[in-house]
Symmetry: C2
Subunit: 189 residues, 2 copies
Amino acid sequence: MNFRELYNKLLNENITADKELPFQVERISFKKGDILTAYGAVEPNVYFLHSGIVELKIKSYVSEKILDFFFTNEVVTCLTSFLLQQPSDVEMTAIADGEAEFFTYHGIQQAYATGSLQVNKLGRILTEQAYLRKAQREKDFLSKTAEERYGEMFEFHKDYLLQIPVNKIAKYLGVHPESLSRIRKKLNS
Amino acid sequence: MNFRELYNKLLNENITADKELPFQVERISFKKGDILTAYGAVEPNVYFLHSGIVELKIKSYVSEKILDFFFTNEVVTCLTSFLLQQPSDVEMTAIADGEAEFFTYHGIQQAYATGSLQVNKLGRILTEQAYLRKAQREKDFLSKTAEERYGEMFEFHKDYLLQIPVNKIAKYLGVHPESLSRIRKKLNS
């Protein structure tokens, strides 16, 4: 899927490839290890991933935590920083080479302001999806064990799991790498 | 503030009291202990609080957690259930008598669908605010101690704190009531 197809799908539109979207969308490619948004930077973009894996990290008072992983056909940004245009507490890093399309804060704000109904609707739907994802993550963290959460990652993102270092998966689940090894052995047996 | 004033403020509008908003807004009053949305119910409404205090709770695998408290002039709903129109994992309860205005899922969806730019913009802004609040709460939980978080509640919601039972504040902070007593003594000394 490309961003135009996502736009059409979310808004029941039918904008063909020869027509322009109401705001500019550009392409970017990134390498494993690239920092897309550093701690303290103001997030300028919203990305739609064509390939690759992106992680969002935050510094806790004990260590660094991984908030979420994003895969192909998912939308990712440091959303608080993007919405408020303030320095980010969250860092976005590529953990596998990939490509993405992106639009800028300036571009979408201009489209909001010129009164585009469809762009406001798109902004509403994308923000709703970001909220639902964060609320689901919070709920999973409170109501599921690390083993159940790993089981779901395994079920839904099996192909990607091999590309994510074990210590990152452990940081995401909030367990020690040794506990994750036990969980993995149990699941594979 | 009433909901019309909130609407005008968020959208730079100037709809006077004798004119109608693009969707219906009704009034409700509630008593301490009233369950506004029960576990398993589908959330029909979004509330704008005139007075009173509302809590959102979720069942974790060890106990029940309090996700957030909402006060005068704040917007509250079980948002995941509202957006998906699915049974709620979150329960909304009044912990102090109060009054609110509310609009319904059906009402706002109709206004979205009839292509109101302003209502889509309102939905986008309210969802952005809900996201920012949840992200801030997650960040605070990871990066601040219970003492710091209680200090901020004390600073920003001093007048309300007396109305919230100590065991609820402890549940919200994620500490034992005894630890909260120590924090309170330290802060008052």
